[in-house]
Symmetry: C2
Subunit: 139 residues, 2 copies
């Protein structure tokens, strides 16, 4: 993700301060931020950046495959900068934190033809749920 700006420029992106800031925020911490959290962090670096621009930019990054959208609950979408290494997610039911995980085995291969109903299956998403160490002891 370090040469992200280069890659984006190569794809014909007009390079603006706003887009640079959003990219930097995602590049900075390797966590799963909501659009709003990205916005809050972006505002620190560029106070006049608007919510709409953050949404737009995140959407573009997703379309370009540079960032992944993660939907673990009905609350906000989260954005995962780790788009270039396939992985799944482990979510804490208590505090909502998300970790990337790499299970062995291929769930796609585990779906027999008879269970595909003629679908062209292209993707699997696996979400593990549980309690993180902190929430497990508190609860």
């Amino acid at each position: 993700m370090s040469d992200l700006l280069e890659r984006l420029r190569g794809r014909g992106w007009r390079m603006t301060a706003q887009r640079r800031v959003v990219a930097e925020v995602l590049d900075g911490e390797h966590v799963h931020l909501t659009a709003d959290e990205v916005h809050m962090r972006a505002v620190v670096k560029l106070p006049e950046i608007s919510r709409a621009t953050v949404y737009n930019t995140l959407g573009e990054l997703v379309t370009l495959g540079e960032v992944l959208e993660v939907t673990t609950d009905r609350r906000a979408k989260r954005y995962d900068p780790n788009a270039h290494r396939p992985h799944h997610h482990l979510v804490c039911a208590g505090c909502g934190q998300i970790r990337d995980v790499h299970p062995s085995g291929d769930p796609l291969a585990d779906l027999p033809d008879s269970e595909r109903f003629g679908f062209k299956v292209s993707d699997v998403e696996v979400t593990y749920r549980g309690l993180c160490p902190t929430c497990a002891t508190t609860a």
Copy 2:
């Protein structure tokens, strides 16, 4: 799900016309309805039933483990009456239809301890995405 009302009464549920209607709607068709669709179908049988009651009742059914919440996109949650048989979901990226599927293999077993970060992992949710036969030919 046929003796659902019995079970609910056994758990101390006060039996009201509204709850009966919501349970009947879920019992009726084995599809994955949104809360709003449940409401629309419920209104046919009991015109004065309110949206809030449908939401409340669905929430209670989920808490009791009689119904599963399915979140496949950023749109509405869907409710799956098939809560007593473990299964996963296959979602069409085109039209959004959902089918229950039963993969072989256990994704929970595929998550090594080293990838659990001390979490007490209790549940996995697998969502296959693809195109249904109709959408695959149209697209």
